[in-house]
C-alpha cells in the first residue's frame, strides 16, 4: 500500500516490461496534455544526474548485487522524488512518470530481494492517481526488444541472475519473472491494465479517456500565459527527469 496522493497535483505513471510500448504511449499522452494547455512534467526511470556516475561505474564493473541494485535505483528515484516530482505535485502539476516504484517491485523481486523489504523502501512515494500497466505477452515484448537492439545489455538481460548463458534466453526468463510480479500487483496497487496488443492509436484512445475522466473538473497549476499553445521551456517545469 502506498499513501494516497493528497497534493493538488496529478500523478500518472506507466508500467510494463521492456517492449510493452509504454514509453510510446506516455510520450503521446505528454504531447496531448501540453496541447491542452496543461502544466506537465515528465520524469523517466533511472535518470537522476546525482547517481549517474555511480550506476555507470557499477554496471561497467558488474559490481551490483540485487540489494545494491535495488538501493541505488531507489536513490535515483528519491532524488527525482524529492527535488522534482513531489514539489511539482505540491504545486499542482501533472507529473508523468515512465516507470515508477512498481518497476522496482517487479525487477528487484525478480532478482531475489524480499517483497516486503522493497515495498518499505519506496513507502515515501505516493499512490499514483492513474497507474497504467501495459500488458503484452512475453514473446511479443521479447521480439520487439531483440529486433530493435543490437545486443542486450548485461543487467538488462538479467545476466547477473545466472539463469542462462544466452543473453536472449536469460532476458526471457528474467522478463517472465517480472511479468508474474506485475500480475500480482494489479490488485495490490490498483493498476489499470491496457492491452498492449491493441494498435498504438487504439491504446492511446483508451489512455486519453482514462486521463480525461481523472482530470474532469480539476484545475491544477495554470501556465504563465493564458494561451494554451505557449511552449513550456525545458528546465522549468517541462523537461526530462535529469534536467
Amino acid at each position: 500500500m502506498l499513501r494516497k496522493n493528497t497534493t493538488p497535483g496529478k500523478l500518472i505513471v506507466v508500467e510494463g516490461i521492456d517492449g510493452s510500448g509504454k514509453s510510446t504511449q506516455i510520450d503521446l499522452l505528454h504531447k496531448w496534455l501540453q496541447t491542452q494547455g496543461r502544466s506537465v512534467y515528465f520524469s523517466e526511470w533511472n535518470s537522476s544526474a546525482l547517481v549517474k556516475s555511480t550506476t555507470k561505474l557499477a554496471k561497467k564493473g558488474k559490481l551490483f548485487t540485487p540489494t545494491t541494485f535495488s538501493l541505488l535505483q531507489c536513490t535515483d528515484f528519491a532524488d527525482r522524488w524529492e527535488n522534482r516530482i513531489f514539489p511539482l505535485l505540491k504545486a499542482g502539476v501533472i507529473v508523468l512518470a515512465d516507470r515508477y516504484a512498481f518497476t522496482a517491485f517487479g525487477r528487484d523481486v525478480a532478482r531475489g530481494v524480499d517483497r516486503e523489504w522493497v515495498r518499505n523502501l519506496y513507502s515515501f512515494a505516493l499512490q499514483p492517481d492513474i497507474a497504467l500497466y501495459f500488458r503484452v505477452p512475453l514473446d511479443v515484448a521479447v521480439d520487439r526488444i531483440t529486433s530493435a537492439r543490437a545486443k542486450l545489455k548485461y543487467y538488462e538481460a538479467g545476466m547477473d541472475l545466472d539463469l542462462s548463458e544466452s543473453r536472449i534466453e536469460s532476458f526471457k526468463l528474467f522478463q517472465e519473472r517480472i511479468l508474474n510480479e506485475y500480475d500480482l500487483m494489479v490488485n495490490e496497487f490498483n493498476l489499470t491494465v491496457i492491452d498492449g496488443n491493441l494498435s498504438v492509436q487504439a491504446q492511446q484512445r483508451l489512455v486519453r479517456e482514462i486521463v480525461k475522466k481523472e482530470l474532469e473538473g480539476w484545475k491544477g497549476l495554470p501556465l504563465p500565459e493564458s494561451s494554451p499553445y505557449t511552449p513550456i521551456k525545458s528546465g522549468t517545469v517541462h523537461g526530462k527527469g535529469n534536467a
Binding site: L50, V51, S53, T54, L57, A58, G61, L63, F64, T65, P66, T67, T68, L71, L72, C74, T75, A78, D79, W81, E82, N83, R111, G112, V113, D114, E116, W117, N120, L121, S123, F124
Partner: protein, 237 residues
C-alpha cells in the same frame, strides 16, 4: 560456528552460510576516538596472530566517488542521502565484510548502520522505515559504544581536526554557527545512541578517559569474547 543472523530478511537470494570470522563494531559520536581505537585494536589483534580487516563508512568502491561528489555540492536531499548511504553500506557488507568473515577474518568496522540510521532519523527520517531498510544488515558479534558527552567531543575536536559542516549537522541547522549547531546535533545523536545501546545490546564504554584506558577495556571484552568462542578441541593439540 554460528549461522549468520540478520535484523530482517538479509539477502534471500544468496546462501551466506556459516561465518568463521568475527564482526566487531565500534560505534559512537564523531570525534570520540573510534578510528584511533580501530588502529590500536588492529595492531594488537594482528600481533596476536589474527587476520584483521577494517572498514568504515563511505569506503565502498562503488559509491565512494558519487557520495563525495554529492556531499561537495550539498545536493543530497534527505531520503536520497539515506538511500545513497544504505547503498554504500550494503555494498561493503556484501562485497567486503561478508567475504572477509567467510575467510575467517576479524572485521573491525568503524561504525555500522546504527550511525547512519541515527543521522537519518535526526534529519527527520521515519524510524520504522529506516529500521526495515537495514533488514539486510548482518548482526555483529560485538558492538562497542564509545560514549562521551558533548563537552568532551567539542574539546577533542577543537584541539584536533576542528568542527566540520556535516559533523555539526549544519545542513539541517537553523543556527548561524558551527558550535551551536554541533552541540545541538551531537546531543540528539547521543540520545539516539543511548536508545540503540539498549535495543541492540551495545557494550557501552566510557570514552571520556585516556586513549589507553579505553583501549584496555576494549581489549578485555574482546579477549573474553574470543576465549568464550574458542573450541575446546584446540587443547588436544
Amino acid at each position: 560456528m554460528p549461522k549468520s543472523e540478520y535484523y530482517g530478511a538479509g539477502f534471500p537470494y544468496r546462501e551466506v552460510g556459516k561465518l568463521p570470522g568475527k564482526l566487531i563494531v565500534l560505534e559512537g559520536s564523531d570525534g570520540v576516538g573510534r578510528s584511533t581505537q580501530t588502529h590500536l585494536l588492529r595492531k594488537w589483534l594482528e600481533d596476536e596472530g589474527f587476520a584483521v580487516s577494517d572498514t568504515g563508512l563511505r569506503r565502498s568502491e562503488m559509491t565512494q566517488q558519487g557520495i563525495e561528489e554529492a556531499r561537495k555540492g550539498h545536493t543530497l536531499s534527505r531520503i536520497t542521502m539515506s538511500l545513497f548511504y544504505a547503498t554504500d553500506f550494503a555494498d561493503r557488507l556484501e562485497n567486503q565484510i561478508i567475504p572477509a568473515l567467510q575467510a575467517g577474518f576479524i572485521v573491525l568496522s568503524d561504525r555500522y548502520f546504527y550511525s547512519i540510521m541515527a543521522r537519518d532519523i535526526v534529519r527527520g527520517a521515519d524510524s520504522d522505515w529506516a529500521r526495515q531498510l537495514y533488514g539486510f544488515a548482518l548482526k555483529p558479534d560485538l558492538v562497542f559504544y564509545l560514549k562521551a558527552n558533548v563537552t568532551d567531543l567539542v574539546t577533542r575536536l577543537i584541539h584536533g581536526r576542528g568542527l566540520n559542516y556535516w559533523e555539526a549537522g549544519m545542513d539541517i541547522s537553523p543556527s548561524d554557527n558551527l558550535y551551536d549547531s554541533f552541540i545541538d546535533y551531537q546531543s540528539k545523536m547521543i540520545t539516539l545512541f543511548d536508545q540503540y545501546a539498549k535495543e541492540y545490546d551495545f557494550i557501552t564504554v566510557n570514552a571520556g578517559r585516556p586513549v589507553m584506558d579505553v583501549f584496555s577495556d576494549l581489549q578485555n571484552h574482546i579477549r573474553q569474547f574470543l576465549e568464550d568462542q574458542q573450541p575446546v578441541i584446540e587443547e588436544a593439540f
